[in-house]
Structure formats: C-alpha cells, structure tokens
C-alpha cells in the first residue's frame, strides 16, 4: 500500500515522480464521489452485460450467479448503466436512502 500523498516527503519520490507500483490507481477510492447508486432488479436482469460494457469506470463485474453488479468502492454513480439497460433492470437510488 502506497503512503498517502500527504505524508510523502520529496526524498520519498522516485526519479521523475515515476510511480513504480503498477496499477496502484486501484487503491484510489472513487465510490465516495457518488450521490446515487445503481440498484439491480434481478427479475428483470437478463445477464447480457451491456451495463458492464458501457460503464466508464469498468467497475461492473459478473458475480457468481451471473448477475452484473457495480463495485461500490469505485462506482461514481454516473447512471450510464441504468440508461443503457434495455430491460430497465437498473434503477439509480439516492445514496441517503
């Protein structure tokens, strides 16, 4: 796990500020950006994967039962999956609820 940026001194930095831990963007939580989250109606879902293809974050994954669900650590709540789902299986719900 990389040190949080607020704790790095200039001496901690790699040459040219290169980040040598590959793929560490995955440690960056974007899920707390959203104000709405996608919810899935399993009765309407036909497991086509269209939502997954359209997700700009690439955070919708197929679970063990075959349903496509957004990874809430990353999901920013943009609503594109709900818009593209042609069976209207996905509904955006306010985070507060």
């Amino acid at each position: 796990m990389t040190k949080p940026e607020s704790e790095l001194t200039w001496k901690d930095l790699e040459i040219g500020s290169i980040v040598t831990e590959p793929g560490n963007a995955s440690q960056y939580q974007t899920g707390d950006w959203r104000s709405q989250r996608p919810t899935l109606n399993h009765d309407r879902c036909v497991k086509c994967g269209i939502c997954s293809i359209f997700c700009p974050e690439g955070c919708i994954e197929q679970n063990a039962d075959g349903y496509f669900e957004a990874n809430l650590f990353y999901c920013k709540g943009c609503g594109i999956c709900a818009r593209e789902c042609w069976t209207q299986a996905i509904t955006m719900m306010e985070e507060e609820e």
């Binding site: 980040v19 040598t20 590959p22 560490n24």
Partner: protein, 391 residues
C-alpha cells in the same frame, strides 16, 4: 589518434551523434540547425548510423517523440533553433520534470517578429526555467566536446536530466573550421551505455507523468530542483575526466587574462572569441581589463561567478538577448542577483548587443568596455544600453 578535420560545425555535430551511437533521432528542420538533422538523416539512410530517424511534423512532436524514446531507454538526440525551440516549449518542462536524458543541440537564433533566421540568445533565454542542464560553447571543438559530455552527463544515474548544448546560430553552426573528432574507441571508453532505470516495459509496468494534486506537487519540484543542483558535481567530474583523456579543459566560468583585472567583460558563446581578441588589444594598450566566459548556464554557477568577480571594480556584461520591459540583459540580471548579498561586489553594467545576427567586431567590444567604464563612473538613466543600435 583523433582526426583533425576541416568541417562545418553542424556536420561535426551529426558526426558526433553518430560516434555516440544514438538510438533515436526525432527532429524537424529549421534554419540554422537544418544541416545537423539533414546530415543525420543521411547517416541513418546510408547505414552509417544504426538509429531510428523519425521525421516528425513539428518541433512539438519532435520533443514529444524524444520523450517517449528516452522513456524506453533509448539514447535520444535532437536539434532545434529559435521558433522551433519555442514550439516545443511545453514539452521541454515535461522532459526535465520526468527526468528523461534527452540531449539536444540548439543553434541559437533570434525570435520573430520580425522574422530573423540569424543568431542571438533570445531562444535560450526563453527556456531558462525549463529545468534542463544548459551549456554554452564558443567554437566548433567546444561544441563536439560538450556534446560528447552531454550524453554522459544526461544519462548518468545520479543525474538523469536532459541537456541542451547551445551554439551560436550561423556564427558557429555554419562555420567551417578545424576540429578534432574522437575515435569510436575513445567515445566508447568515455560514455557508458544508457541504463535508464525505469524503461517502459510491459513486463515491468510503471506509471510515468502521473497527476499531482497540490498536496504533493511542491515535493516533486523540490526533488527536481535538488537533482538539478546535484548534477553540477557530475558535470564538473565529467569535464575533469574529459580533460584527463582529451587534454581540453572546461569549467563553469572561464577566464581570459582576468588575473587582477579591475574591469571585467563577460560574454557567452562564440562572441567570446572575438572578445578575447579585443581584450588582447586593450591589454597591449595598457588597459586593466579581462574577460570572463560563462559556460555553465544551468545549473547556474553561483559560487564560480562570485569567486571570479570578487576583485573587480566593474563587471560589464554583454547579453545577446533582450528581456523586454524588464532588466534588459537576462544574464546580467541573474549575475546581479547572484552578487546581491556579496560584501564586495563590482558595479555591474548591462549591454545588449549582437541581436538578430548583428556582428560585434573587436572595435565594438572596445567601445563596450570603454563605455561600460564610463557608465560605472557617471551612472546612467537607463537600466541597460543596446550596443550599436541606430538612434
């Protein structure tokens, strides 16, 4: 044994890039550096140099391609001048802050408008803050020698910074003069292979050019500054080693007949040689005057400048660039600033001349010295004087 040849300096640069066995050249032609990249293209085309020559569509692309090549661990070289240097401006900052060892020769040229293909230092002065190591040269031999050193300095694991070698456009780039080119074996001995530590490689992925919010940006800049400052030790060691091998010696500030001189003239680039002839003449006439030649421009040699002028009463600086609405001579303003806290410092007088290819003759330098001495005695309303301008 090195070969003494009569050659155009531009072509000698290309020959040196070939001797250094560069891997990638991404370049766009522009007067007065065109002969450099044309000759390189020829060397690659006829198989004398095994390199990828990328003829890009602009200097912005040239430096961008060089960045990419350097990031893969290639020994990378390019050349530009004037407007070309301006066009790649934003990418210059990226090369240095990403710490990629690109080497570039700049045939210093005046900036438009009006359009001028002739030489001066305005292009150099526009890239002062870009974070590149920058070295000035006075004659063809110095150009090829420092180009050789540039590869070694840039790629040194303690440095990993891009290097610009400055040569006066036309006055040096198009000059045919004698110089010694080293043998391939001497080059091989002097520059180790490029071992950039994080070459882009899918087998060992890294992130380059990451995003930096305010919380971390200052630290990245401090690191960059510390590395540029630290490069000076490597530069000095490289020059020392060069002198040991090739018997030609370079240092950040060089002097000519300046021992005990009360009046010093300071120049950069090929006009320094004409200035030396002027100093000879003035000394013969009994004038107490010497010459300083600034060679290492970045990192700026604060210590050496302070040391060189500590016994002088008057320091007359000739800039070949004009900082409009500001201090006039950029080099002069930096030197004044470097001397500000010194107990004993000379009066510093600023001249701007040799703009857009205008020659300064021996007589011209004599005038500058005499007028500089006069200003030091009587003072002046102006921040600086433009030498030779018709009023």
């Amino acid at each position: 044994m090195a070969k003494r040849v009569g050659i155009e300096v531009s072509l000698a640069i290309a020959e040196m890039a070939k001797l250094a066995n560069v891997d990638v050249v991404a370049a766009y032609p522009i007067t007065p550096q065109t002969h450099i990249v044309e000759h390189l293209a020829q060397l690659v085309a006829n198989g004398e140099l095994d390199a990828a020559y990328i003829p890009v569509e602009s200097e912005h692309s040239a430096m961008s391609a060089c960045l990419g090549a350097s990031a893969v661990g290639a020994r990378t070289f390019t050349a530009t001048a004037g407007q070309g240097l301006e066009l790649m401006h934003e990418v210059l900052y990226v090369a240095s802050s990403m710490q990629l060892p690109v080497v570039m020769t700049v045939a210093n040229r005046a900036l438009s408008a009006p359009l001028s293909v002739w030489g001066d230092h305005s292009d150099v002065m526009s890239v002062r803050d870009t974070g590149w190591i920058q070295i000035f040269t006075e004659n063809g031999q110095e150009v090829v020698d420092n180009l050789l050193c540039a590869f070694r300095i840039a790629e040194d694991p303690e440095v990993l910074l891009p290097v610009m070698i400055h040569l006066d456009g036309f006055h040096l780039s198009h000059m045919i003069e004698p110089l010694f080119l080293p043998q391939p074996s001497e080059v091989e001995q002097f520059i180790p292979p490029n071992r950039y530590p994080f070459p882009l490689n899918p087998g060992k992925p890294v992130t380059m050019g990451a995003f930096a919010p305010p919380i971390i940006y200052s630290e990245t800049k401090k690191a960059q500054q510390a590395n540029l400052e630290a490069s000076k030790a490597v530069i000095l060691h490289c020059w020392e080693d060069f002198g040991h091998h090739f018997k030609r010696y370079y240092s950040p500030v060089e002097s000519y007949l300046s021992e005990g001189a009360r009046v010093l003239l300071l120049t950069m680039g090929s006009f320094s040689e004409t200035a030396m002839a002027a100093i000879d003449k003035m000394r013969q006439e009994g004038k107490d005057v010497g010459l300083l030649k600034l060679r290492l421009w970045r990192p700026f040699p604060f210590k050496e400048i302070r040391q060189a002028v500590k016994n002088a009463d008057v320091l007359i600086i000739l800039d070949r660039a004009l900082s409009f609405g500001g201090p006039g001579g950029p080099v002069c303003s930096e030197i004044r600033s470097a001397l500000y806290h010194e107990q004993n410092r000379p009066k510093v007088i600023s001249f701007v001349g040799g703009l857009g290819g205008r020659d300064i003759t021996v007589a011209g330098f004599e005038y500058i010295v005499n007028r500089g001495i006069q200003i030091s005695q009587t003072g002046s309303e102006q921040e600086f004087e433009i030498f030779g301008v018709r009023e």
